[in-house]
């Protein structure tokens, strides 16, 4: 009797659990539907890179191109392709290296500031550009680079330096773009590094002080090692996104100036221009396909490498 009762109970609970699971599933469903439609369906849509797409036929009815790699053949024959890939990879590598070194250095220095008030002020000002859109940044840049009225040329004229037509000087943009990327994102990165320093127990420093360690030794032996996990995580994420670029930085800030393409054209802007401005869906989709697939492989690869070094730091 008792046994039967408990069995009934168990069955009831099981049914209830299944009901609970269904209820939970239904709560996640709306987000899953959104992600299915707007993230998963476009993944399947990558097949467009192998088709002769026409707007009237739509994606499914458009015929496959013959041979199926035709769009890629055009892409690799185009003289722009080398330049775009060079720029994309080159800038991203520069961003990764400089962001890492500069953010860590600033976080370490911030950690030495004793006044809480000053600390807050410095952090806030550095973080501020993160709040601005690239459109707003492009206005600020324009105030500096406007050839007739801008600050840089005004300073150059006053000090007897050379005034430049900035929006037609591609070489200058290598520095401008790197500077702006660091300027806009360093505050956020410093914040993340600094947050991971908060967890250091002060007893480490006290012990080191008793042993007679200098401030610099403490930074090298105690503070810096606490930053390693964050350094690795942020760097893997950045390497995984090495085929991506910030569209606003490369398109809007140089004002889509054609003479600047040699140093500002990257995959992201190329795909956009080929799609919208020249309507060349074949080239655009082939470049986009490369970007997605190579990016995916790079994420998997970097994660694997990190897993081998230290499984705790791996992304998944």
């Amino acid at each position: 009797m008792l046994k039967q009762l408990s069995r009934q109970n168990a069955a009831g609970r099981k049914r209830k659990d299944r009901g609970q699971a269904l209820g939970l599933f239904l709560m996640a469903l709306p987000m899953m539907i959104v992600v299915t439609i707007f993230s998963y369906i476009p993944m399947g849509g990558l097949i467009v890179a192998f088709k002769d797409y026409s707007y009237s036929d739509g994606l499914l009815k458009s015929p496959f191109s013959d041979p199926f790699w035709k769009n890629f053949e055009f892409l690799f024959k185009s003289p722009d392709t080398f330049r775009i890939i060079r720029n994309t990879l080159g800038y991203n590598l520069a961003f990764i290296a400089l962001t890492l070194v500069i953010s860590v250095a600033i976080a370490l220095m911030l950690n030495e500031i004793r006044s809480r008030k000053a600390l807050k002020v410095y952090q806030t000002t550095m973080f501020f550009p993160y709040f601005l859109s690239w459109v707003v940044v492009s206005y600020i840049v324009y105030a500096f680079l406007n050839p007739r009225l801008g600050y840089l040329n005004a300073i150059a004229a006053r000090t007897g330096g050379e005034t430049l037509d900035w929006y037609n000087t591609p070489e200058a943009w290598i520095f401008i773009i790197i500077f702006l990327q660091i300027w806009k994102t360093v505050g956020m990165n410093v914040l993340m590094y600094y947050a991971s320093l908060m967890s250091i127990d002060s007893s480490y420093y006290e012990a080191a002080a008793i042993e007679g360690a200098t401030r610099l030794q403490m930074i090298r032996r105690i503070t810096l090692p606490f930053l390693y996990p964050m350094m690795i995580i942020l760097t893997i994420l950045a390497v995984g996104k090495i085929m991506n670029s910030d569209f606003g930085l490369f398109y809007q800030v140089p004002m889509d100036s054609k003479t600047l393409y040699p140093t500002t054209d990257v995959l992201e802007t190329y795909v956009y221009r080929a799609l919208i401005q020249s309507g060349n869906i074949g080239m655009s989709s082939a470049a986009g396909f490369l970007k997605s697939v190579v990016g995916f492989i790079l994420v998997l690869f970097t994660n694997k490498v990190v897993k081998k070094i230290n499984p705790d730091y791996a992304l998944y």
Binding site: L24, M27, L46, Y55, L275, S292
Partner: protein, 296 residues
């Protein structure tokens, strides 16, 4: 010992000097926009952009608010997509995050992976553009500006990490009292996740406020331009907008129009509301920052 103290003071002064200089690099460019927007147009075209307030006046702002249609429309659109989008995202994302944060939910790992995978791989611009414009016909709709930011899985995972720290006993005891998942979510999970909701809510709001690419891709009608996109168009095509404004109310000769300062004033007005959010952001941000691994 004394030399040590003096040494420390010197280091501290040098460090602070360094940070003050560094702060200037971050602040001066932003201040320049302020200086330009408060300077008379004549002074700008004569002497270039001002390094400080020079011939201070409000003509640029007066000019914008004399013909407010353009900016009022843009504000309306931006406010609608920012707040509407943020609300919708928080609703969808917190429900999903709650589900995948429950250790007793059997399909937790599968659904987490389903979301996470989209962070590793995506279709990119071309298929998305075809889907949005050709298949779903979303051109010139507000949905076209809201949807692209709804699929943000990064914030979803931040929410999940936060919710996973809510003690399971709370949920268990609520369930024993007969509460369903909907009730638990509304009465316990949401109130307990306030710091995370504030952080993610502010981040999402900022993302929507600053977004202009969806408008560039999908919006052709001028009345539907959000602030940021209006600014983008304006910087590249100032004369066209000025003519537009002039058609609404005639203001006399084009040469009197404060084009340089008005442009910067417009920029300042677009940033403005976010300045009020900034202090809140700082308050919640460091607390809600921890992003855990996806595994587990």
């Amino acid at each position: 010992m004394i030399t040590n103290k003096r040494h420390e003071r010197v280091v501290s002064i040098l460090l602070n000097a360094f940070f003050i200089l560094l702060s200037a690099v971050f602040i001066i460019p932003i201040l320049s926009v302020v200086f330009i927007s408060f300077t008379s147009e004549a002074s700008i075209s004569q002497n270039g952009y001002p390094f400080f307030f020079r011939e201070f006046n409000l003509n640029a702002f007066k000019y914008i608010f004399d013909n407010p249609k353009t900016i009022v429309d843009a504000y309306k659109v931006t406010i609608l997509i920012s707040f509407g989008g943020t609300f919708l995202y928080l609703l969808l994302a917190t429900m999903a995050a709650y589900v995948i944060s429950r250790p007793d939910f059997p399909y937790r790992k599968h659904i987490t992976f389903f979301f996470f995978f989209t962070m590793l791989f995506n279709g990119g611009l071309v298929p998305t553009y075809i889907l949005m414009s050709q298949t779903l016909h979303l051109k010139n709709t507000y949905a076209a500006m809201i949807i692209p930011l709804l699929v943000n899985v990064w914030y979803l995972i931040m929410l999940k990490t936060f919710m996973a720290d809510i003690p399971n006993e709370i949920i268990e005891s609520a369930r024993i009292d007969g509460a369903g998942h909907g009730t638990i979510y509304l009465r316990f999970i949401l109130p307990l996740s306030k710091p995370a909701l504030a952080t993610i809510g502010l981040l999402t709001l900022l993302d929507y406020w600053n977004s202009w690419q969806p408008a560039m891709l999908y919006i052709d009608e001028k009345e539907m331009y959000p602030l940021q996109y209006m600014l983008q168009v304006m910087l590249r095509n100032i004369m066209e907008i000025l003519k537009e404004m002039q058609n609404n109310i005639s203001l006399g000769g084009m040469e009197n129009l404060p084009s340089e300062s008005a442009r910067m004033a417009m920029c300042l007005l677009a940033v403005g509301p976010m300045l009020f959010i900034f202090p809140f952001f700082q308050k919640y941000f460091t607390r809600g920052l921890t992003v855990g691994a996806v595994k587990g």
